[in-house]
Assembly symmetry: C2
Homo-oligomer: 245 residues x 2
């Protein structure tokens, strides 16, 4: 992992941008983290596009570093400044055209949108995790927080170092990922925005029901996709405090 | 209000049993509460039967007094040592017979079980509230926490001193109470036990949807009716801290 820039924010947080192979990412650590006092790690998931997402990710990282966690995120394959894939671009074009026409997003399109992304992103997250857990100031266990929920599901199934996850409900979950949900056995906090215009509420409730863990909690709040209340950040920290300490 | 017994618990809490007219109840106050430092009040709802419910109510009161609230509860009309009503006893007999026969509890029976109770209990809660808010060590605003959810709905609609409520989802909600839900305009935290054998999950979700406030949050956890996780008590305190301070 190569550090490409480094800055101290407010004296409390160290923000390091890095590249691991072709994967750009950001690592935030509390100033107090050190080899003699390592901190647990939370992976911050997001829908892709780091430059656009940075303010919201930084806000989440501030809250989590203040609670004593390191946080890391990566750019998703095909997003931000990363090379585009022709198939992924075609799927996005088809999505926007379907939405503009007011038509239903069918399973075939959801598969094309999400499955290649999950298949590409999950190994990248795991490679970044290998590197981060080799750092002296970072220690396990590891949490995953955020979207894309399909990436969170797959990571929770295949990556034993992920000990707990806060997942943001989203609708475009391929059938095959839905079928992986019973294999998720780690504690979950699922956040659902009740009025999410891009989210099928019943599908989100069915997915919550399908997760295989008995330690799962659903928090539903009013408002659309980006209106998650600030207090859910605190609730997420307390959830991780119960399961990562 | 006549105090019938008084004891200090752990040095931190004063537990006073009282009678107001025919209404028996319990008031718990933090030892620190005084006329110069009054505390907000949380009304603890429960399904009736104070002797049986006392251990769980005390546990809830301990958590809330530790967070700086006074707590009060009353015995419901027709429960515990209070006089029985023939109609209510008949409704309970019919409920048990219907459940034993594995039959569906219909709306007519739910009305008979719940409506007279709501009509009797809500004025009693309000009379107790008048008295409690006259005490120098207790101050508004007031929260309501617990079941019976139909009592919570009616109180939230008719009692302007109730500023926020934590409601425990339950199934036996008369249609007319369901229709009052859009008139609930105060912040709500609704707790749903996902596997509650006595609870129609879809009905609970529909009721959550029907509440008229935009500041509502649903917390769903696994397990049956009495398996609300301990951390929900802390979450409830934080909810009240946002709305009663």
């Amino acid at each position: 992992m190569q550090c490409t820039s480094e800055q101290h924010l407010d004296g409390d947080i160290l923000e390091r941008r890095f590249v691991l192979g072709e994967i750009p990412g950001i690592l935030w650590t509390p100033a107090s983290a050190s080899a003699s006092s390592p901190v647990p790690l939370i992976l911050l998931g997001h829908p892709g596009g780091l430059p656009r997402m940075h303010p919201r990710l930084l806000e989440r990282a501030r809250r989590s570093t203040a609670a004593g966690y390191a946080c890391a995120t990566i750019e998703l394959p095909g997003s931000g400044d990363r090379p585009r894939s022709a198939a992924a671009e075609q799927a996005r074009t088809d999505l926007h055209r379907t939405l503009a026409a007011g038509q239903r997003i069918d399973g075939e399109l959801i598969d094309r949108l999400v499955l290649p992304l999950v298949d590409a992103a999950v190994p990248e997250w795991r490679a970044v995790l290998d590197d981060l857990l080799g750092r002296p100031e970072i220690d396990g266990p590891v949490g995953y927080a955020g979207g894309i929920i399909s990436i969170g599901i797959r990571l929770a199934v295949v990556e034993p170092r992920i000990a707990a996850a806060v997942l943001f409900a989203g609708s475009y979950v391929p059938r095959s990922l839905f079928e992986e949900a019973p294999r998720v056995r780690i504690p979950l906090l699922v956040l659902l925005q009740w009025d999410d215009e891009d989210n099928d509420r019943q599908m989100a409730l069915d997915l919550f029901d399908a997760f295989g863990t008995t330690e799962k909690t659903l928090h539903a709040n009013m408002g659309g996709h980006t209106r998650v209340p600030a207090f859910e950040g605190e609730d997420g920290n307390r959830f991780f405090a119960r399961h990562l300490r």
